[in-house]
């Protein structure tokens, strides 16, 4: 029963990582359903690159201040103070651009993502940053989640779950047909602002677990997996939350000694393949 001892040891030594991971997976998957249905699947990828750029700039600014100006400041959470507002602004712009006929959403995501990545990489290099710094942001590091970050993840999850419990019908109406919702008097701008803020916060904190390169997977995969199984919006939302949490737990405990982010993606991919097969079987039988 070595594996049981292993699991109890992991729970004992990394409770923050497990709680933060499960809650972020749940939040990301629920918001992900909206993003996937609004055809913004790649926004997670784009924003994580912006997050990388912002983290790198914050790191570069720290190094610069320390080396040249001899200014000593408290660095706790400094990179988040830079990244969160910046990513929220970019998220809002990208979601607004999606409605524009002048610039296509996917093109603007690609434009902003590659620019932010280049700026971030250059900033780290110019200020003598190490490849360890880059790797931390690129691939995530779940074991370094702090208690404060865990509490923030609890807050984010509470807001996301609360919003879906209270306003799932409103969320459905705006996601299904935004112009109709706007025409009949719904505050679609408020909806988009809240969506931008939640997406940005989830991505910035999710980067700690999944890294820049893999964060969009916990947003997209659970939504797509649930859509293979259910035809009802509410069922898709709640089942994607459950699937996402289960995938995280399986990946975390089964492959904790390897890359946690990559394991989460692989487990989600397996879940998606199984759901595709099960969905086809269900549809075949229901037609009969």
């Amino acid at each position: 029963m070595n594996w049981l001892t292993d699991i109890s040891n992991i729970i004992k030594f990394m409770p923050e990582a497990i709680i933060a991971g499960v809650l972020l997976s749940v939040s990301a998957s629920m918001v992900g359903v909206i993003l996937v249905l609004k055809r913004f699947s790649m926004i997670g990828d784009g924003l994580s690159h912006v997050g990388f750029g912002a983290f790198s700039l914050a790191l570069a600014a720290n190094t610069f201040l320390d080396a040249h100006l001899n200014v000593s400041i408290d660095k706790t959470g400094w990179e988040y103070l830079v990244a969160i507002p910046l990513v929220i602004i970019v998220a809002y712009i990208l979601l607004r651009l999606g409605e524009s006929k002048k610039i296509k959403g996917d093109a603007s995501i690609a434009l902003i993502a590659s620019s932010a990545l280049a700026i971030g990489y250059l900033a780290i290099n110019l200020t003598g940053g190490t490849s360890a710094d880059i790797s931390k942001y690129m691939f995530g590091s779940i074991t370094t989640v702090t208690t404060t970050q865990m509490y923030i993840c609890c807050g984010v999850a509470a807001v996301v779950i609360g919003l879906f419990l209270c306003f799932s019908n409103h969320i459905f109406a705006v996601t299904f047909d935004e112009s109709f919702a706007k025409a009949i008097g719904l505050h679609t701008k408020t909806f988009n602002t809240i969506l931008s803020i939640l997406t940005a916060v989830i991505i910035v904190f999710g980067m700690r677990i999944m890294g820049t390169l893999l964060i969009s997977s916990i947003i997209i995969f659970p939504a797509l997996t649930s859509m293979k199984l259910f035809n009802n919006f509410k069922k898709v939302v709640w089942s994607s939350a459950i699937i996402s949490a289960l995938c995280f737990i399986i990946a975390f405990f089964a492959f904790y000694q390897y890359s946690s982010a990559a394991s989460i993606v692989i487990v989600n991919l397996i879940a998606f393949i199984i759901a595709t097969i099960v969905g086809k079987i269900i549809r075949r039988f229901s037609k009969k």
């Binding site: 409103h170 299904f176 109709f180 008097g185």
Partner: protein
Amino acid sequence: MSLISCRNLKVGYYGKPILSDVNLDINSGEFICIIGDNGSGKSTLIKTMLRLAQPLGGKIVYDSSLKKTSVGYLPQEIKAKSDFPATVFEVVISGCINRLGIRASYNKEERAIAMRYIKTLEIEDIIHKSFRELSGGERQRTLLARALCSSEKVLFLDEPFNALDIHVTNHLYHTLAKINSEYGVTIVMISHDVETALKHVNKVVYVDGTVKFVGTPCEYKKLGGQNNELAN
């Protein structure tokens, strides 16, 4: 009584006017069809009246009884995707969202409204069917039922019969005529199929740069339609 009055209205996109000096009254109980060439600004005019687009000039006066939440709308091309996970009932009742306020779920009255229009549009048999599995006609009837749920006063329909066969189109026209006469719903519709529209509506608005004609279908026919006198 005019529900909506456009006065010297100028509409367009990105500051570029498409229609100017629009003076038009939408009166209670009318069944109006707005006609005109592609790109003549029909959809933009409707969107401006729905407050989805800002007017570039002039003004729109809304009757005090007409709140922002008392209009129904069927967009030209629904942005909802073919893979959207929703049942027909979910889509129809989402039209009642403007009655919901901050409540979390629909009440009995709202469910009854949804069921009434589901019956009117004859889609009772498919209420549990997935929206992504519907035919073009079923989809339009579902969206029309949703639009009706949101308002029993004014209904804006942007090319509701696009890509539908003549049989389904005629059936939907009869349903709209029934909604207009029995429930007293004012309907403002855009259609390219002028000939069919003239048989069912009671007011025609022809636009081309401005409003070139407002009158009954008979008057429109007498003038020879848009290809002759109106175009000149």
